[in-house]
């Protein structure tokens, strides 16, 4: 059974703290993503990684960074948390599209609720 695991479901952090959100997938997927979900805005892409050590900015990268040192792990880092980063964060992964026509299924984790106070 495919699995994307976000290690922390609920976090409460103080303004200015450094926050790490970890995501691990066990499907040997090349591509991994971080989204945040806010009411009325849907899911917005923060960063994605199409291979180890490769990353690209999404639509809202400001205030975030990422790390992909190993294929199975994609970390989202909030260098200095702020209250406007209170949100639900979703990690996702999929296989590479290279050489395939089929739009591969994207698998999501269960989400991490972050509250910054």
């Amino acid at each position: 059974d495919v699995k994307v695991t976000q290690s922390s479901r609920y976090l409460v952090k103080r303004t200015g703290e450094k926050v790490f959100l970890e995501c691990v997938q066990d499907m040997d997927h090349e591509n991994m993503f971080w989204y945040r979900q806010d009411p009325g805005l849907g899911l917005r892409l923060i960063y994605f990684s199409y291979d180890v050590k490769m990353k690209e900015k999404g639509d809202i990268p400001e205030g975030y960074s990422v790390s992909r040192e190993k294929k199975e792990r994609f970390s989202l880092i909030l260098e200095s948390a702020s209250t406007n980063q209170t949100s639900m964060y979703l990690c996702a992964s999929k296989t590479s599209d290279l050489g395939q026509r089929i739009g591969n299924t994207i698998y999501f984790g269960e989400g991490s609720w972050l509250t910054v106070v």
């Binding site: 993503f33 849907g42 899911l43 892409l45 639900m88 979703l90 599209d97 026509r101 739009g103 269960e110």
Partner: protein, 115 residues
Amino acid sequence: AQTVTQSQPEMSVQEAETVTLSCTYDTSESDYYLFWYKQPPSRQMILVIRQEAYKQQNATENRFSVNFQKAAKSFSLKISDSQLGDAAMYFCAYRRSGNTGKLIFGQGTTLQVKP
């Protein structure tokens, strides 16, 4: 830039009846994929149905089907014989083909199913 728009923040349907959720998108690409995801209160995103843009035939998965109008850039989801378990938030999503294609989501539609 590609965008996805869901203009119905909330919808409701009577159990056993049919409901259609709307989605429009904007892109200049010719090769892409469209998806409908369901997000129940547990927050896990569940793939409901997928459509490849190069296929003219509308995708179907049991009680779920789509009406894909490529020229109009419209991708609606029809749920037949609605069940209480269908109550959730539904997201329409777009992704262009290629390894670095980002999955872009609409704002979501909350579906209520009335017994």
